[in-house]
């Protein structure tokens, strides 16, 4: 299975070391370099801190396979993609890439605001590695996928942010490469377009035999697109295997629930990193039962309230706020999203509170994960997200001994209590009208 000769990507003992620490100024100047040389190099190097962004990473990807890469911020996901796409060199180990690789580390790389949509398509296409004739032949398709036909000769600085992102993604989605390295590009754009893009990518993995490496905080996207998954933690491989299994381990270990209260103030933890405004961020989440007390474990069929503390870091007005609370199984199956109606806000910096109540609570006994997403929007434009925690916390629902009516029947993923009628004799006239077979 993992023989070196046939894999599309084979990675052996890959490592990448970065230099960090207070001793290195952000922009070293020539004076510093000269001074360092005069002082002697040895003392300097001992004061610098070296960190391994990636350490001893080995895996194989077969041609046509889609591999998901998950892990917290700073786990080394992007570094791995950067090495595989030749942007940066590894410090140790080696990687063999068979086939033409295209990397999408962000959408719209090289877009220039002064240039028109048409000019940017050609430019961006060339930067992503497309040939001129390839772009020519796909031009119409790209334009209609993005839905910007009328504005194709308008400078993109006049585009709405939604149009800009759609155009950028449309170019990327038409990139014809044997191996596609994708980093979280789906975390931007409106939801409908994200879905369409996901569909486009999936279509290409399955029908064209393309190999895809896909980094995302959107666990649902990973689940839809990939069959195998690599879990990185602090530069090491923590899990590698079928997506379902790796997911389960990841979600269970990842969300450390402290008895129903989850502190979310640390912005470097659990966040999807890309394209978030963070003017507003989640500060805390609490799970309350029907009596209003905080608990990690709840009973099946009882009211469940999720309360959020939100911190505003700077004043924000003239916008509408929407909060989306996504409840998934630990296998990553999205059960439902509780989406708030957009409400106008005009707020000063400080802490704010809101909550959502599930009544009735449809969750059957089991362990669930809550993902949080908060976004603000103008009247016509969708802003970038404010804060996104793909898996903010987990909680348990226990079977409720007092309302147990299933008598051994599996509840399934959700509890739906139908309104049953009583058993009564059938009406002969109705049976005549539509005879049972």
């Amino acid at each position: 299975m993992s023989s070196n000769g046939t894999s599309a990507i084979s990675v052996r003992g890959l490592g990448k070391q970065y230099r960090i620490g207070g001793q290195m100024p952000a922009f070293p100047t020539l004076r510093d370099a000269v001074a360092r040389r005069l002082r002697g190099r040895r003392r300097e190097s001992s004061r610098r801190e070296l960190i391994w962004a990636l350490r001893e990473v080995s895996f194989d990807v077969q041609p046509g396979e889609a591999l998901g890469i998950i892990g917290a911020n700073g786990a080394g996901k992007t570094t791995l993609l950067k090495i595989l796409s030749r942007i940066t060199d590894p410090s140790t180990g080696e990687a063999i890439v068979r086939g033409r690789a295209g990397s999408l580390l962000e959408v719209g790389t090289g877009f220039h605001p002064e240039l028109t949509g048409r000019e940017n398509i050609y430019l961006n296409g060339a930067i992503l590695g497309m040939r001129r004739h390839e772009i020519n032949s796909k031009f119409e398709e790209i334009v209609s996928f993005a839905g910007v036909e009328r504005f194709i000769d308008t400078p993109v600085k006049r585009y709405s942010s939604g149009m800009y992102v759609r155009l950028a993604f449309a170019v990327a989605a038409h990139l014809d490469a044997d191996i596609l390295l994708v980093d979280e590009v789906l975390s931007v754009g409106d939801f409908g377009f994200q879905r369409r893009s996901l569909g486009k990518m999936q279509e290409q993995t399955q029908s064209e035999g393309r190999t895809v490496l896909f980094v995302s905080h959107n666990l649902g996207a990973i689940k839809t697109l990939t069959t195998r998954c690599l879990w990185l933690e602090q530069g090491h491989v923590r899990g590698l295997g079928p997506t379902e299994e790796v997911f389960r381990d990841y979600v269970l270990s990842h969300a450390a629930s402290g008895g129903g209260t989850t502190d979310l103030t640390d912005l470097s933890v659990g966040r999807a990193r890309k394209a978030l405004a963070h003017t507003l961020s989640f500060a805390r989440m609490e799970l309350l039962d029907g009596r209003g007390s905080i608990a990690e474990t709840h009973l099946e069929g009882e009211i469940l309230t999720i309360r959020f503390l939100i911190r505003a870091h700077s004043p924000l007005g003239g916008r509408q706020l929407q909060i989306r609370c996504r409840v998934s199984t630990v296998d990553g199956i999205l059960l439902f999203s509780a989406v708030s109606d957009p409400q106008p806000i005009d707020i000063a910096p400080g802490l704010y509170e809101t909550s959502v109540t599930l009544d009735p609570n449809p969750l059957a006994a089991g362990t669930y994960s809550i993902g949080l997403y908060m976004l603000t929007m103008g009247d016509e434009t969708v802003d970038l997200g404010q804060d996104l925690l793909p898996s903010a916390a987990t909680f348990r629902i226990e079977a409720n001994p007092t309302t147990e009516t299933y008598m051994g029947e599996q509840a399934g993923l959700v509890r739906v209590e139908g309104q049953w009628g009583t058993l009564a004799p059938a009406n002969p006239l109705e049976i005549l009208a539509a005879p049972p077979r």
Partner: protein, 276 residues
């Protein structure tokens, strides 16, 4: 799956001496074209005078030099404005090229940390884009020669493209050094404007080298642009008969700058994405 031969890329830590990588650059020639095209498209966007600036820059400098250094031109036996302009056309090409190319990596930092392409394409496209300005300014020079009724040295005309190429090579050599240095040391951003100002006087734009006294004349000759500028005047205006030795030095220094520039650039390239 596919029956065609797949390209295989082995990625491991690079050590030792870097290869020039010119072959790879050739496979990316379309991108090089697009990057050049982008710079040209964007350069004069939202300016009132647009591409006219390509000619205005040397023309304005010509006026200033004619006012203050007119007597130097007389010694060469050519009308002041045309004497200065013939020097300013290659000089402006060189000066703009090193200004643009020294900033080509830092200015494209986002590109460098997000996609792979041969990094050499950045400074090369910056110099190529400036070539367009050079052609415009050169056309103006030809017009001015017609106005003053000066006929070029016809036999020397084929030398003009060679001189333009020499300017290109010199500018690229310097640009490679400066752009790679600029990634690690932003001091370069302050050094370049100074170099450009100093160079205006240290490359014989304002005066003919043979009119100054000895230790300075040799010193001036080491600057490769001195030979190029004198070469232009020799071919177009018929000044200064013995151009050979000076051009020889120019060619030598330029080639040295280019080769060392590529080697240094390729060596530093490994850390561009991490440092920039």
């Amino acid at each position: 799956m596919t029956s065609r031969e797949l390209p295989v890329q082995v990625l491991r830590p690079r050590t030792g001496f870097a290869r020039l990588g010119l072959r790879e650059l050739w496979t990316y020639r379309e991108l090089l074209g697009f990057m050049t095209w982008r710079i040209i498209l964007v350069r004069y966007k939202q300016t009132l005078l647009g591409v006219a600036w390509a000619g205005l820059q040397p023309l304005l400098l010509m006026v200033v030099l004619s006012l203050f250094f007119g007597s130097f031109a007389k010694k060469a036996g050519v009308p002041g404005p045309i004497f200065f302009f013939a020097g300013l056309v290659p000089w402006t090409f060189f000066a703009n090229s090193i200004t643009q190319s020294s900033n080509s990596l830092v200015g494209n930092a986002n590109l460098i940390s997000k996609v792979y392409f041969p990094r050499l394409a950045a400074p090369i496209s910056a110099v190529l884009a400036t070539l367009v300005d050079f052609v415009i300014a050169f056309a103006i020079l030809v017009g001015m020669m017609g106005w003053y009724g000066i006929a070029p040295r016809w036999a020397a005309l084929p030398v003009i493209p060679a001189l333009a190429l020499l300017t290109f090579v010199t500018a690229l050599g310097v640009g490679l050094w400066l752009s790679a240095l600029n990634v690690a040391y932003r001091d370069v951003q302050y050094v370049v404007p100074f170099l450009v100002q100093l160079g205006l006087f240290a490359s014989g734009v304002a005066f003919a080298p043979q009119t100054i006294s000895e230790p300075w004349r040799t010193l001036l000759g080491i600057n490769p642009m001195t030979g190029v500028i004198e070469g232009f005047r020799w071919a177009l205006l018929g000044t200064h008969a013995r151009i050979g030795p000076m051009l020889g030095v120019s060619i030598g220094v330029s080639v040295l700058l280019l080769v060392s520039g590529i080697v240094y650039f390729r060596q530093m390239e490994r850390t561009f994405a991490d440092v920039v």
